[in-house]
Symmetry: C2
Subunit: 320 residues, 2 copies
Amino acid sequence: MIHHLFLPVLGNEILSRLEDQASCSLRPHAEATLAFTTDSFVVRPIFFPGGDIGKLAVYGTVNDLAMGGATPLFLSAAFILEEGLPIDDLRRVVVSMREACDAAAVTLVTGDTKVVDRGKGDQIFITTSGVGFVPAGRSLSAASCRAGDRIILSGTIGDHGIAIMSVRENLEFETTLESDTAALADLTRVMLEVCPGIRCMRDPTRGGVSSALHEIAAASHVGMSLSETAIPVRAEVSGACEILGLDPLYVANEGKLIAIVPRDEADRVIEVMRAHPLGARAAVVGEVVDEHRGMVVMRSRVGGERVVTMLAGEQLPRIC
Amino acid sequence: MIHHLFLPVLGNEILSRLEDQASCSLRPHAEATLAFTTDSFVVRPIFFPGGDIGKLAVYGTVNDLAMGGATPLFLSAAFILEEGLPIDDLRRVVVSMREACDAAAVTLVTGDTKVVDRGKGDQIFITTSGVGFVPAGRSLSAASCRAGDRIILSGTIGDHGIAIMSVRENLEFETTLESDTAALADLTRVMLEVCPGIRCMRDPTRGGVSSALHEIAAASHVGMSLSETAIPVRAEVSGACEILGLDPLYVANEGKLIAIVPRDEADRVIEVMRAHPLGARAAVVGEVVDEHRGMVVMRSRVGGERVVTMLAGEQLPRIC
């Protein structure tokens, strides 16, 4: 839909880059670049272990800014409420957004509310937009990766998607599996401090790690080679994925990032990530290669290789 | 809801001003101020005489920026689509947005799309956010109006709301009544050129002229005195309002503005407005007074005065 409908009609130099955030050069402010992003959140259920739609809406947009190397500053929030939504539910979401803004050090500066008739919405939809600034000289891009670069993952994958599914499907685990929803801007800040040359970063949300790596592989005309044993996955997530017939590589994350980093700087980046609460389980999970361009290939536990295919649609609907 | 739920929880210096747009001072960019706004559009039907939800979503957000004296620059758009929406309808909306962006000289730089199951949305909802810059030294505020200031209206009122209602209620007019949806940024530009001291501007959308004037009256601790004969209303709109039991003062507009202007500068402002296609019927419709503070009073055709009360809810649901 993006390539066949939106881009041909709406495309322009900035939109067509298809980065998670728009970086708008402001001629009168030549030293820095404005970053601007938007996302609608329609997650179901609106409350889930580890978070809720409000927290997700704040962190999701903050993370889209952070992935571009921006310092997130200002947020907007637009609510579409279904008639009959209990006011206490709305309050709980709004309180959660406030806490999330404080935790992420962003200011929600403008908003809007619309109410639609019962049966024309689903409790609450939230669209957040975010504005931030990218320091002069910093330029992260999915198109800048080269063979030899290391693929870094900040922690376990699939937690968010499986937390949502476990509520929907009434799965029982020995411990409650929680969404990983978190603001990544402080983590990216310390990473960029030690390694200003990070090629690009992505938060693997809808479509998971697989989609994010496919995007980067296509943009940089490189291949991605992953090592299955290096990818951190919680036992509960592996178990749930087996039951549900899902592959953790496709499951959404809301507090994790992928960074493509020049080979010689990977150790330094991993070190500062592991010292940060949101990167404690950071690991090099693979490398960028000249072979199988545009593709993602995984070396399995037993030594074989398999192509990680790109999913056409969404594996899990309404996950964020 | 804003005062009892959102502000107590989310309030901060900028959000609490309750301007239509957030003006964010950027310390490293001290010369100018970033303007940032958001609105969700849930209008029903999505196509109506004179426009559609896409055009409305672009112009509505452009106008929110323009009312703050900003030059609109960048837009984001987030779509929540109901499963089963005909692709041709979506395409028509997207094409219309492109045309609207071109007409308004803004660039749509980022976006998002979510799909919700059938019966959990209503065809298409669009949330647009906008970013612009307010030149250094310019500061429009609803709190800055003083007794003696003139109230200027840029043209006929009620066109948008009645165009929507006429489709919904199947009203027949001799001529098709069209929505006035339009981008007002070029009109505000010429107005501010001749009168940099305009106190404040508002586009009277939901809640109409009445709501906008009540907001300003409250913020400036002044009264608003309107002259019924001076307010331009199309005959079809008057007629439809009578049939539907509506007061044009409460009906939504999408291409009109109210400006509060120092008395001695009103003539000059009216002159440039009338020379502009979107201000051809601009008129002084009243003045700011020291009496009946916080209230809006209308001198009627026959010389009497009546208080224009503030509506508690929305007179017309899903008008934008």
